[in-house]
């Protein structure tokens, strides 16, 4: 139990630091790559233990989002998107539940459920997160095409990070 808190707490900090110190500065300046925003911090929400109380999940997502926002100078935007996927997480996990149910109390990670399953799960979460994030960022569906392009391109690059992370680290 204690190790769960420590490892998740560490993940929170490390993802936040990587996001705001390294990834925020990355600005690809080549034609369509200009749309790419690499966002990996939702991995924290994705990897929280399966049986975590929902209210705690929402509060942690809010905390993470606000922390990212403070560095991105966009108070509320990342937080709104994070809280939204935290809310959706339960439904997505229910949808993807293996036939024999979730037998572990650990994280919904590639180590526990296989890389294929994790990729599907993380993809759904990331697509929703990025779409909500860019929509709130633009704050109007007039720019829907812009939002979709950004979502898809950023999704591809962000997912690469997530999958590499899952291959390198074994998360219980």
């Amino acid at each position: 139990m204690n190790s769960t808190i420590t490892s998740n707490g560490l993940r929170f900090l490390i993802l936040l630091l990587i996001q705001v110190l390294a990834l925020k500065g990355i600005q690809l300046d080549y034609s369509f790559l200009r749309y790419v925003v690499i966002i990996i911090y939702p991995l924290f929400i994705i990897l929280l233990p399966i049986n975590i109380p929902r209210s705690l999940l929402l509060l942690l997502a809010f905390l993470l989002g606000i922390s990212v926002d403070i560095f991105y100078d966009s108070i509320g935007v990342h937080a709104a998107a994070s809280v939204f996927i935290a809310f959706c997480r339960l439904f997505i996990l229910r949808l993807l539940e293996p036939t024999q149910g979730y037998k572990t109390e650990g994280s919904p990670s590639a180590h526990n459920f296989g890389l294929g399953w994790f990729t599907t799960y993380a993809s759904i979460m990331m697509i929703i997160h990025l779409f909500v994030y860019f929509s709130i960022d633009a704050f109007s569906f007039v720019f829907i095409l812009d939002i979709l392009i950004k979502t898809i391109l950023s999704f591809i690059f962000s997912m690469l990070f997530l999958i590499v992370h899952q291959i390198v680290f074994k998360v219980d």
Binding site: R54, L58, L59, S74, G76, V77, V83, I136, F139
Partner: protein, 268 residues
């Protein structure tokens, strides 16, 4: 009671979700200029459309009254033309060094009863309306454009505690500021006129022309009362307006084409 607690225990996280999202959106709108302006913009577009429709309906019943006032206005202008040139002659005015343009607009919504009053007019950025333009009516100044979207603009009325307009007493050359302190929609305060000035009841107060919003000598009102407190260096002057704000419908927005030049040099 027990049921209520059970209900919250069961759906608590959903409420928490809604609460957190509301907090996020309040933060977004309050701390991010971009989103804030879009929010204001779209809410203005929706309410603007509604007010315009309502105004069309109201206009229909006051057509004859409006026609009368426009006739009076026409007659007044025609009289000026007659005075200067004689009727029928073509008038040539060299207006190349006159930097002000007038854009006619119609008021589609306004408040006069609150502490901070605003008006909405049916012209926006498409018609070259920009923030910081002055707005005048037939009987004097009305306010200053605060923000504009494509089709509508919001005007900060002079009946607003944030309004502050540079004014002077005509032919006497004393300058002060016009503010609205009391809630009387007919009376404004003129402050910063020194007690050594000679002021008389009935003196005309006009714009000073020092700000970039209004050209000089636009009528504001007449002095109704003035008094000096002992030891104070300035008069307390009450100015009576000639405008009846509740009946306003047609206004003119002043486009000062030299505004940018004046602002630039003042910033430098």
């Amino acid at each position: 009671m027990r049921n209520i607690i059970l209900f919250f225990a069961k759906h608590g996280s959903t409420f928490l979700f809604i609460l957190l999202e509301i907090i996020c959106f309040i933060l977004i709108i309050n701390f991010n200029n971009n989103q804030r302006s879009i929010y204001l913009h779209s809410s203005n577009l929706i309410s603007g459309k509604l007010y315009e429709e309502k105004q069309k309906f109201v206009d229909f019943f006051s057509l004859s009254e409006q026609l009368d006032s426009l006739q009076v206005e026409n007659a007044r202008l025609l009289r000026r033309v007659l005075y200067h040139e004689g009727y029928g002659k073509s008038i040539e005015i060299d207006s190349s060094d006159f930097n002000y343009k007038l854009i006619p607009a119609k008021i589609i919504n306004q408040s006069i009863n609150s502490r901070n009053n605003y008006l909405t007019i049916d012209k926006g950025t498409i018609d070259d309306i920009r923030p910081d333009m002055g707005v005048i009516g037939r009987n004097g100044i009305i306010g200053i454009v605060q923000n504009a979207n494509t089709k509508y603009a919001r005007v900060l009325s002079i009946l607003n505690s944030k309004s502050r307009i540079s004014a002077k007493i005509k032919n006497k050359g004393y300058f002060g500021n016009i503010l609205w302190r009391n809630l009387d929609t007919q009376r404004l305060d003129l402050e910063a006129i020194p007690t050594h000035a000679t002021v008389a009841v009935g003196d005309t107060v006009v714009t000073s022309g020092y700000s970039t919003m209004f050209p000089p000598n636009i009528f504001i009102g007449t002095i109704e009362t003035f008094q000096s407190k002992k030891g104070a260096s300035n008069y307390n002057i009450t100015v009576k307006l000639n405008n009846n704000f509740s009946k306003l419908q047609h206004v003119f927005v002043i486009d000062n084409t030299a505004q940018d030049f004046q602002k630039t040099i003042e910033i430098e």
